[in-house]
Point group: C2
């Protein structure tokens, strides 16, 4: 079977957030509370997503212990290692990991993602982030996180450097000719000799150019600086939009920025976050949502919401509205702040109703319904330009993912907007992205 | 089958150096020149070593491109990721990776090795090194490498920090009680609040304590500072000794240092490097050695030897002796310098004969012979206290390893000094090491 039509295709990425996107997912009878540090859990998720022909599985990351760990799982296992292990148990699905530009060295990150690309046969992606929280700063010798603009300036220089390192071997630099004994054509290795604001890196990298040339670059920050970073470097963006119109505007803005930088139209795929809560009927889906939300301690949800909004817990009451005149907190998450406030205002929700609509979550959109309803929602956003695909965040893992693959994917396939088989073996192939050409060969030495 | 006797058992570690220890190994008809960046090559090696009941597979590392890459393979794929992939394809064998304390952050390294320990079910080991070469310095913002003493002072603080981070969760801090909703007992997470010479790290780590408590600590540096670092932290040492007497002295010295630090007798396993060149007869083994050496360009071997000795190439002539009054070069490798000079002087070798005896290598001992002769050599060193086991460096991979597993391992097993089955599933179990107890529970808060 091949895809029925040459039309534009939807992209599906699994956000493999430990036991699922709803904070109480680990408490369900079928859930294993230890899943968040069990490699077999992630292998299982990747295999289900691969059976569902997803483009990729994605792992977020943190460099400090999360708040409220007394209530819910955290990002624990280091994502690039975890995905190197998942790579060995899968064959096609893309493998996307977050790694911070704030507390790593470009040479090390270039090497780790090139390695992931090699060991997976061209399936690696890097979600470029900056790290804003105070806890991470204190794990890396800083009393406080760097200021927002500095973080993004460093992220830009970091990313340019990593790309240059990935290109520091020409594609045919490796020779391996047994007869002549010539192993590498060192004339096709180029130092990058970078001397910048944040970094001095000589290069070249110490491994051959990877199957994809560059692992695919993702970005997720919703601030103006974040969108500019996306426009400069990202090939796909994990966004957060509560409404169709917000997402349409987000997608247009990022791509307009990219076009202004000379990258051509529609250079950046936009994948809004989408939490799915699936039931055989809409009523059963709503019941599932309510049961999950009722298992989340309200203290947890209120504290989390106060954190997103950057206000003291005391300013929130469950049956009141959000306070007026909210302003983005220093080092706050722009994406989640904006999406959360927009949702509450647009639908005039009480705090209790807002938390329910968010399924206890941090700002991503939640759809609750039958497989057909969810497929309709996805198709609408996709066909009318508000999304190139979705960063899927099932309520409960693996069950919510299995329900999606069993129920929603076949509908999308019948409608001709989602692949029925992989047509390539690399993440670039899944996303319809070109392999970067790499560095132009050096001129003959003077 | 179980081990025939409760006597002291030999430890075997595979140094999985790309196509093999002899620099020309990649040129043999059966070799794949691309093996050094092919994960399947390393999976194959690990499976052969696991079939041979080896304790571990080990991957060295570098943070820059090696010299003379025009002639031979290099360390390319990042070892912790590569081993995370190998973990998925194996069940028992230990997985030891080098990571530098000079160009990483303790929090990141603690996390990566704890992750490797989790994904492998307790098979991780960390070879703690400092990085002295000028090329690496220039990849990490430095014009020159840090001075020797500074590197080791940083390595000691780094290692103490990593161990403290590994202990920052008590073993029973994870609760995961579905009924109460209590996920982690945060009273059993302890910040480390380290404020030192090189680092300020708050902690705790963001993942539960790993199966081994601490991944096993290895060390490989042969300088006085290196041996002191080993005495402080290492549970096993990769050494390099050309003679029985040197190895006996090395093992005694390291363990005397460890005992002086209160670690008790024989706290540190010493595993000298051992390159094996195996033939059905001694003459065939010698012929194999000579054919391999003849495939190495002399230019390569002379340049490498000059680098080890820290002298200009012009001071070496193939048919002369080594120059007199050689002194350890600045930032040189103490281990290889000492072993190489000792071998040449003890046997009064010409440069050409020295290179042949080293099989073109960097200072490790080479044994050439039948499986029985190699087993005799191993047994002699082991029974008489010059080694707890060996860091095996077969001439050619995988063939030389397969020959060792087929030919030498059964002899060692029949002699009762090497396991016939794994008795445990962790690297600590293979090495007969206790699991570190971890931090004493915090007293009730004042």
């Amino acid at each position: 079977m091949t895809a029925a039509s040459p039309q534009r295709q939807l992209h599906l990425n699994l956000n493999a957030l430990h036991s699922g996107f709803v904070p109480s997912a680990w408490r369900l009878p079928a859930s294993d509370p230890r899943a968040f540090f069990d490699v077999q859990h992630y292998v299982r998720l990747a295999r289900i997503a691969e059976a569902g022909k997803f483009d990729a599985i994605f792992l977020a990351d943190n460099a400090s212990i999360a708040d409220q760990i007394n209530f819910r799982p955290i990002t624990a296992l280091e994502p690039t290692l975890l995905l190197a292990s998942v790579a060995a148990a899968t064959t096609h699905i893309g493998l996307v990991a977050t790694a911070s530009t704030s507390y790593n060295e470009p040479y090390n990150i270039a090497r780790r993602f090139a390695t992931l690309d090699h060991v997976s046969g061209g399936r690696a992606g890097w979600n470029v982030v900056t790290t804003a929280d105070a806890g991470s700063a204190r794990n890396f010798g800083r009393a406080a996180p760097p200021e927002h603009g500095q973080r993004y300036a460093r992220a830009d220089e970091f990313t340019r450097l990593v790309k240059a390192l990935w290109d520091s071997w020409e594609d045919d630099a490796f020779v391996g000719d047994k007869d002549s004994g010539r192993f590498v054509d060192t004339g096709k290795l180029q130092p990058i000799a970078h001397h910048g604001t944040f970094f001095d890196v000589q290069g070249p990298l110490n491994l051959p150019r990877s199957p994809q040339g560059h692992p695919v670059l993702f970005q997720a920050g919703g601030s103006a600086d974040g969108r500019e970073l996306a426009a400069l470097h990202a090939e796909a963006v994990f966004s957060a939009s509560q409404s169709f119109e917000e997402s349409l505007a987000c997608k247009r803005e990022i791509n307009a920025r990219a076009e202004a930088l000379g990258r051509g139209p529609n250079a950046v795929k936009v994948l809004p976050g989408l939490t799915t809560i699936i039931g055989a009927t809409e009523a059963l889906a709503r019941q599932r949502r309510d049961e999950l939300v009722d298992l989340i301690p309200w203290d947890y949800s209120l504290t989390r919401l106060a954190g997103t909004l950057g206000i003291p817990l005391e300013r929130l009451s469950l049956d009141g509205q959000l306070p007026d005149n909210l302003a983005l907190p220093a080092n706050g998450n722009h994406t989640f702040f904006r999406a959360t406030v927009a949702l509450a205002q647009r639908r005039n929700l009480t705090v209790r109703a807002l938390i329910r609509e968010l399924a206890g979550g941090g700002g991503h959109r939640v759809v609750v319904g039958t497989p057909g309803q969810i497929a309709d929602d996805i198709e609408h956003w996709f066909r009318h330009g508000a999304a190139d695909g979705f960063n899927l965040m099932p309520d409960v893992l693996p069950d919510g993912l299995q329900d999606f693959v069993n129920g929603v994917v076949p509908i999308l396939q019948r409608r001709g907007i989602f692949r029925t088989e992989y047509e390539g073996t690399t993440l670039r192939a899944h996303l319809g992205l070109q392999r970067p050409a790499g560095r132009v060969p050096a001129q003959a030495a003077a």
